[in-house]
Symmetry: C2
Subunit: 343 residues, 2 copies
DNA sequence: TTGAAAGCGCTAACAG
DNA sequence: CTGTTAGCGCTTTCAA
């Protein structure tokens, strides 16, 4: 990367003149057109880009702190919104001046994004894949860092009980007398997901519920395909557990379209990882095991603060409770009539 | 903000020792516990936070460029996801090393977030309110900047034709013989929204369509309330235009619950500002005037590149076409049977 | 109208 | 084990 001095040499002027021109202050400093042009040409020729760190160091602006959130820019991107909301809340509560920057990264390529770490005062790393985790464990970190929804014996982390996330729906289905469950899952991208699934399978088995599993993409379309294949089974299951809201909504659409009545003929529970409204305003409002992402974000932030204050030493893990939210798609306490009308 | 040197003075050591300890390299450099403790205590006492710009300047890591996206962290947050996808696409195409950081900011408080501008090589500012725009117009910018979905005679901008966004649904309704329309809108947060609404009103009037307007919050809940009040009208409208997907989906739920058949008794068109799947997998798939956010993001990025290469001078505006997407909620070319089944 | 020089806060090489 | 020192790239006086 060329510096301002190289531009100066190329243009045959001093570096301060270059700085003036490049910052658009030619007028007030009365730099003649010819000089300006020489400089601009040189800058273009050398493909100059200002070094932002140097500029900032010099300008030395505000004294607020920067927290970076690393988030995978794949199918999980939509969930960033809930996390962000929680984080903003926590920051407001703290009454301190924190700026948030979100750094989207490619799955398995967290290592390529690490330069951003060096420009912040604290970091929360989310969605790390197994490979990304391996990278993280082997790296020394210049800033206080918290991991979201992962386990580590090097970092501070914030988690939920993945076992419960699978056990609760199994128990609800058992309590409601179901014996034949469908399970629509997406490809596991971190160990916790496997835990959820195997926990569901385990508790279903214990309760004498037969389970058949469908693997699909984590999207409404994937869920729709899952729902379609569910319809071809004989006998059809009488209940369905999906590991994401997206898939549940897709599956619901496929089932309704095939004439399956929800919840009368098929009760559905999902892992509540999407926006609340998405669940509430689904064709049939969706019963979920709520993943408290906003609360988790708050916990991440508090952990960062504690880490910085030396109140906590890594590794230290916070685990938040999950809760089952009953809506129309399974056990809806509200009027079943409404649910029927909604089909 | 205290510096490393102040810590050093406080602890009675040199600044390099402080640097070593604070970077967790005490072991390899064999700094004794006592010294470590002195330093840590001093740092804590003075509430030390490293200056990230200085660190970065020194470390001088990768040579990739940083583009910052400023996005309002309110009800518009979910739309960030689509923008981001488009941006990532554009970056991939460019074959250059760009890192994206998203900087969420509070509506009307863009000015407080501007320090982030100084740490990036380019910026796209989105969702600026009128007040934010006023601030922007009066400020000189150190980095190439593009405005998303706004008009300016200072900046480069990327837009759609807001007139069309209102005119198209009016025309579709007219062509389909409707005479009585509902209009659910959220509070205007930038002039373009007013243009969309007044354009719809204008073209509806021209076509002899009576319109009644409901103002609601931009959310599914707001849409639901809008749908509820629609049901109380006499006569009920036979078509509905919503200025956002969220509201349309909420309204649809209210209407279906009230027993209104969609599209037979009520055709719905929305401004397609949400995720495609959300529209496709709504109870009745949603016809929309598609807002090409991904394409707009790409255009923003290309404009940034052109700006940096000197191929373009601000102000320069790019306008992208919008297109009407027919789905079941209005004129669904597909089988009406399916639509009926979905109720 | 332009250049020389100081210095932002930090890290790392090297010297003690 | 710890301190001295150079310098990252930039902006901004101040002097010429």
């Amino acid at each position: 990367m060329p510096t301002i001095r190289e531009i100066a040499k190329e243009a045959g002027v001093s570096s301060s003149t270059v700085s003036i021109v490049l910052n658009g202050k030619s007028e007030e400093r009365k730099i003649p057109q010819i000089t300006q042009k020489k400089i601009m040409d040189a800058a273009r020729k050398l493909n100059y880009h200002p070094n932002v760190a140097a500029r900032r160091l010099r300008i030395q602006p505000s004294d607020n702190l920067i927290i970076a959130v690393f988030w995978a820019s794949d199918f999980r991107a939509p969930m960033m919104v809930r996390f962000l909301q929680g984080l903003q809340q926590a920051i407001l509560k703290s009454k301190k001046n924190w700026e948030v920057i979100i750094h989207p990264y490619q799955n398995n390529k967290l290592n390529e994004s690490m330069q951003a770490l060096e420009m912040c005062n604290a970091a929360v790393i989310c969605n790390a894949s197994i490979q990304d985790m391996r990278f993280l464990e082997h790296r020394s970190f210049p800033v206080p860092t918290v991991l979201y929804n992962r386990h580590s014996d090097k970092f501070c982390t914030v988690n939920v009980d993945d076992n419960l996330l699978g056990a609760i729906p199994a128990k609800v289905f058992a309590d409601r007398g179901h014996k034949n469950a469908g399970l629509v899952v997406s490809k596991s991208v971190f160990p916790g997901m496997d835990v959820r699934v195997s926990s569901f399978l385990l508790h279903a088995e214990k309760a004498g519920i037969a389970v058949r599993q469908i693997n699909q993409e984590n999207s409404m379309e994937g869920g729709y395909r899952g729902g379609e294949s569910l319809c071809t089974w004989n006998p059809m299951p009488d209940c369905l557990f999906c590991t994401s809201d997206m898939m549940a909504i897709g599956a619901m659409k496929a089932l309704l379209r095939a004439g399956v009545r929800i919840p009368e003929e098929m009760e559905i529970i999902s892992v509540g990882n999407g926006e609340r409204e998405l669940e509430e305003y689904a064709c049939v409002s969706l019963s979920v095991v709520h993943l408290p992402m906003e609360k988790m974000a708050e916990a991440c932030f508090e952990l960062v603060l504690d880490l910085m204050a030396g109140k906590v030493e890594p590794p230290y893990s916070v685990e938040l409770p999950v809760k089952y939210i009953t809506r129309d798609s399974c056990g809806g306490s509200a009027d079943q009539e409404d649910a029927a009308e909604n089909r």
